[in-house]
Amino acid sequence: MFYTIRETLIAFKRAPLLTGLSAAMVGLALFVVGLFGLATYNVRLYLETLEERVEVVAYLRDDATTADIAIMEAALTMLPEVLGVDFVTKAEALERAYRDLPEFNEILTDLQVNPLPASLDIQLRPGSRNPITAERVAQQAALHAIVEEVQYGEEWVEKLFTLRRMGAVTTTVLGTAFAVVAALIIGTAVRIAIFARREEIKIMQLVGARDSFIHRPFLLEGAITGALGGALAVALTYTTFWSVFNYLFTISWIPWEWAGIGVSSGIVFGVIASGYAVRKHLREV
């Protein structure tokens, strides 16, 4: 172990340029993934705020009593998919209509009685904002006798759901592609670096070193290169985040676990790439 560490340090000391360049390359490759993660994470957050608007509205008959409404509200609140229930009176509904639908203002003003019904607005829990759950909740609400009609903006919910699915697929595809590319770049960088040291590997073999003995420092070197690169990637991503946040618009920093995963995968890939590259050179002698 001591030998391995010392050999690795010697390699760094001997060819700081090579090590530095490899680490930089790894860092840049992971930075691409980091940037993408940052963008994805913020898009996801934005979609979530949109989703909060998904709600089921139960329009109530004008003859519903306060007690009936309270019972229904309590029943709905107990459903596992339901986050909360808001009661909107006829007056509040009219107010909203004035605000949201200016083209009807005239008509509404002309009417003697308030034609708009009272309603219970049912918000769904984050995981349940999809067409199927929304419909189920709507059916539950429709069972109550005081309900005139239930609506949940099928179209909007469907659209949002499609958008989310497309987003998820795109993110997965692009993310995977970037990760694979990053891995390949890391692998290539390490292989080139080891190619530049093939003579050394040969000499070690000639003086009787076992393959595992030759491997170890290179593996550790790959790990350190990966770690340095990962750290660099996190630093670059954070700098980007910070600049955008301060000079352009408000975005959120990715969860630190993501950063951790990035660095760890840098290390893993560094080790794998080194191992593969060294093995290839070992076989040649």
Binding site: I10, K13, M204, V207, G208, R210
Partner: protein, 262 residues
């Protein structure tokens, strides 16, 4: 120690580098390997180290046969053999001391002995004051002596030395040769490729093998035998005519071919 049995080595080129070479270097024997430039000396040494494999025939060294030892096992052979490469092959960017101690680390020497032994060997080849210098910055002769120190540091059973004095002046050459003789007297077999006829004349007790265009044309162990029936049987090669000097009682005993460890 080393046995070449009708060994032919062909590279990509049409003329083989070695053709039908047979000889047997006994335990503790000292032998020069001579011949013109390009006659196959280095090739013979590389074959004995299993860096290359023969195209035909068999090479046995320290109990390892070229026919049975897999690439993954050659390190076991290499730990018993010291090799002074013609082009030194020092690890670049490291000091002389690091180069020598590296060879000791590789063979898992006890940690406490590594540095003192490396120091001592550098002293023996006259490089004690340069121990801390990075090898790339050493002069040609200094590098060669580091290579020699590295080869001897592991106390090998066999030393393969490829023109180890090519970059040395007379005084340094004498020092190195005395060192070789000394360690040879303790039982280490030596096969030394050299083109320095005068040097060989100074050590008439050593066996001499001469190659010419890949053929073994002279073996002082069979002065009367014609060059072309050399190595026809184990018996002939196993009987040395000239034994190395020093207290090497075992030199005459034919070495049994050990089977490779697995």
């Amino acid at each position: 120690m080393i046995k070449f049995i009708h060994v032919t080595k062909e590279y990509a080129r049409p003329e083989p580098a070695l053709s039908d070479v047979s000889f047997h270097l006994l335990k503790g024997q000292f032998s020069f390997l001579t011949g013109h430039s390009g006659s196959g000396k280095s090739t013979a040494l590389r074959l004995a180290h299993l860096v290359e494999r023969p195209t035909e025939g068999e090479v046995r060294a320290c109990g390892f046969s070229s026919l049975r030892t897999s690439r993954r096992d050659v390190w076991k052979l290499r730990r018993k053999v010291g090799y002074v490469f013609q082009d030194f092959r020092l690890l670049p960017g490291r000091t002389a001391l690091e180069n020598v101690s590296f060879a000791l680390e590789v063979i898992d020497s006890p940690k406490s002995q590594i540095l003192p032994r490396a120091q001592r060997l550098l002293g023996k080849v006259g490089l004690a004051p340069k121990a801390g210098a990075v090898v790339d910055e050493l002069s040609g002769g200094e590098q060669q002596r580091v290579a020699i120190a590295r080869a001897l540091a592991t106390e090998p059973l066999l030393l393969l030395a490829d023109e180890p004095t090519g970059n040395l002046d007379e005084r340094a050459t004498r020092g190195i040769m005395e060192l070789f003789w000394e360690i040879n007297a303790l039982g280490m077999a030596v096969l030394m490729a050299t083109h320095d006829l005068e040097l060989m004349r100074k050590y008439p007790a050593a066996r001499t093998l001469e190659l010419d265009q890949g053929r073994l044309v002279y073996d002082s162990a069979h002065t009367e035998a014609a060059a072309d029936n050399v190595g026809e049987s184990d018996q002939t090669t196993a009987t040395p005519r000239s034994t190395p000097p020093g207290d090497l009682g075992l030199a005459g005993e034919p070495e049994p071919v050990q089977h490779q460890e697995t």
